[in-house]
Amino acid sequence: MAARRAIHRLSRRPDLMILESYLKLPVVYSCGPGEKSAVKSQRPLSTAKRPVNLDLSSIQFPLPALVSISHRVSGIMLFIGLIFLMWALQVSLSSPAGFDTVRDAMAHGFFARVVLWGLLSALGFHFVAGVRHLVMDMGHGETLEGGQRGAQLTIIISALLVVLAGVWVW
């Protein structure tokens, strides 16, 4: 009976309910041999009355999740930015006049400098977050605290690089 009550308590956990409503499926909680699943007789979710957590301010991404998403966003930015880098490579290597075109754009053009700063920032962050991946692949910082610490370090170092890139461009 105690196990039964524990399963029942588990099935009332609000976080699991959010998971259930996200999956649009009842989550089958594990139970010991001989025990019946606590949710076996449950009706489909669409008709079930469940508390829904709509207080979005109480849901927060952990820092490592934000770093992970930023890694993806910066990667997409770099892919889009490739067209500018390829243009700069081609024109700067085409002729002395072409080289001056690129150099003047980077020295005076507002749009070119914003794009350059944005790309350097994305590159800086992507680089640092990527190094963090490699460090974690080697088995360092894989604990919960290590993951937090690594995410904090990634943000601090890349913020520094973003500022330095801005100083360099302007």
Partner: protein, 115 residues
Amino acid sequence: MVINILNPGRNGVADWMIQRASAVILGLYTIFMVAYMMFHPDLDYAAWSGLFSHLWMKVFTLLALLSIAAHAWVGLWIVATDYIKPAAIRFGALLFVILALFVFVVWGVQVIWGV
């Protein structure tokens, strides 16, 4: 079930390895380029095209270009399979990405071997 037909490595382990190997090459290329720019604040065309006239620089740049293609392919495949649910749109987006990366590689080869 996700049927993997547009990822470069055909399986997760190969993709993982491609991503790391290309990342190391791109990291080295990035460090080299940033250091070069820092040590040459008054860069001119002669020095710049002189750098790219070396065979090792052409090979290094080609390696970086191929790494960009592989790295972006793996990365954008992961992102696309995570966020784009309709198969047709995902397939189209990935085809576009692969085609764009192919164009960048050909374009880059043309540029660096034209110096």
